[in-house]
């Protein structure tokens, strides 16, 4: 129910005073309300839930989380205490 999906803003427009956008979700275009993410511009990724943009995706933060995980060492199973599988 709280499903929200990141998509790319391809167009920003106004509908009778409401800031709206067309969002590209890997090829599927849907409109979403952008009024509560005033900083979102064309080319940004926004997180959309039931036609409403909740948040702008921060590329630096995404990169940081991803890099931290990439930097984890693969466990050498031979040196770990034995565990049931």
């Amino acid at each position: 129910m709280c499903l929200a999906i990141p998509g790319k803003v391809t167009e920003v427009y106004e509908d009778r005073g409401l800031r709206m956008g067309r969002i590209d979700f890997a090829g599927t275009i849907r409109k979403a309300c952008l009024a509560q993410v005033p900083e979102a511009c064309v080319g940004d990724y926004v997180l959309v839930h039931v036609g409403f943009a909740l948040s702008v995706v921060e590329p630096e933060e995404a990169e940081r989380t991803y890099r931290l995980l990439q930097e984890l060492e693969m466990l050498d199973e031979l040196h770990s205490p034995e565990r049931p599988t």
């Binding site: 129910m1 709280c2 499903l3 929200a4 999906i5 990141p6 790319k8 009778r16 005073g17 409401l18 979700f25 890997a26 849907r30 979403a32 309300c33 009024a35 509560q36 993410v37 005033p38 990724y45 997180l47 839930h49 039931v50 036609g51 409403f52 909740l54 948040s55 702008v56 995706v57 921060e58 590329p59 933060e61 995404a62 940081r64 989380t65 991803y66 995980l69 990439q70 984890l72 060492e73 693969m74 466990l75 770990s80 565990r83 049931p84």
Partner: protein, 367 residues
């Protein structure tokens, strides 16, 4: 899809899993709060990949599941009114009330329509000025701003034939209820990522401090969930409480203040009953007094409802993290997604429905 696919990479998941195994020295019970997280965990088999010391209990964060029977019965009474177009998110349609469900009402001639966005229901009302359009405004804090937007748009555009049946709930009071529950075994929490895009996570800090639990705001993809588990276990092993943000690509500590302003301009906090759990003080939202013209309960005067809940169902204990679906004798037999008995089987995100859908019917208590 960018920002999704990279959090589904097998080799990356394997790395995080290895780190979880290396970090874990003792048994820990964690709870993921959100139904979307439960669905993802069961779908990807994440609970089975974790070391045996780590148990995941499934939390109360499925709004379809916890919508109380009274509100569902009211929805059915309103939908059956002649001249009404009743609109709802798709997952509410097969939720059984005391007597019927929206699918059955539609088959019997009621005009029940699924909308993708609450705003679509306002557009529908404008296109049908001679009909009454009612929207079933359910959800957690994630959905509250979008639902609020529909009401505020109807007000601004002067749409008189639009109203909402509100059943909005809030996560922090439910987490508190879980942690206070007698017999609680939950020692760490994977917090609701999308709720926190709106609310931020300041309000979770006093909960973490008071109950001495780590709360890690977590995303929904497999690697996000594993990272959430890793961060929670690291804190538990170090004896630390506190709040950590795994989902920092979309969640800020202060959330989205513009979305919250919109939400509080339409809704105010109230006591709410949760299906399977009971009444929780200050755990829901209702329309503000000055917007009561949009309240479907007033407009249709449905009154109080007498409800009947099946006795066999243990969903209340499942929602509070005390039991698992296969602890229930009715699970998969008398109770299935086609004929659900209670809260956690009614929505695809409910723990029982997820276990049923992904072949966990015969699991027993192996894990």
């Amino acid at each position: 899809m960018r920002y999704v696919d990279e959090y589904r990479e097998g080799p990356l998941a394997a790395k995080v899993l290895a780190e979880i195994r290396r970090t874990t020295t003792r048994p820990w019970t964690l709870m993921e709060v959100c139904g979307g997280q439960t669905h993802s965990i069961v779908k990807h088999g994440i609970d089975r990949l974790l070391p045996p010391e780590i148990e995941l209990m499934h939390g109360p964060g499925c709004p379809v599941c916890v919508t109380p029977l009274e509100q569902i019965d009211k929805a059915h009474a309103i939908a059956a009114h002649p001249g009404v177009i009743f609109t709802s998110f798709g997952d509410m349609l097969r939720v059984p009330g005391s007597h019927t469900d929206l699918f059955r009402l539609r088959a019997e001639g009621a005009d029940v329509r699924v909308v993708y966005a609450p705003l679509d229901a306002v557009t529908l009302a404008q296109a049908n000025p001679d009909r009454e359009v009612v929207f079933f405004a359910i959800g957690f804090e994630t959905t509250a701003p979008a639902n609020a937007l529909a009401v505020s748009r109807a007000k601004v555009l002067g749409v008189k034939n639009f109203s909402v049946l509100v059943s909005q709930v809030l996560v922090p009071p439910a987490i508190t209820a879980v942690l206070q529950s007698p017999g609680n075994r939950v020692r760490g929490i994977l917090g609701p990522g999308h709720v926190c895009t709106v609310m931020g996570y300041r309000e979770y800090e006093p909960i973490a401090a008071r109950y001495r639990v780590p709360i890690v705001i977590t995303g929904f993809e497999p690697v996000d969930l594993l990272d959430g588990v890793l961060r929670t276990v690291r804190r538990l092993e170090a004896g630390e409480a506190g709040v950590d943000n795994q989902y920092s690509r979309v969640v800020r500590r202060d959330g989205n203040s513009a979305a919250r302003r919109l939400m509080w301009s339409v809704f105010e906090v109230c006591d709410r009953k949760w299906r399977g759990i009971g009444a929780i003080p200050k755990s829901g939202l209702r329309l503000r007094w000055e917007l009561q013209e949009f309240d479907a309960e007033r407009r249709f005067d449905v009154g109080a409802m007498e409800t009947r809940e099946p006795e066999a169902c243990i969903s209340g204990q499942i929602l509070r993290g005390l039991k698992k679906p296969h602890d229930c004798p009715a699970f998969g037999g008398a109770c299935t997604p086609e004929h659900p008995l209670g809260a956690t089987m009614v929505s695809a995100e409910g723990a029982c429905a997820a276990y049923y859908a992904y072949g966990r019917r015969q699991e027993g208590v192996a894990r």
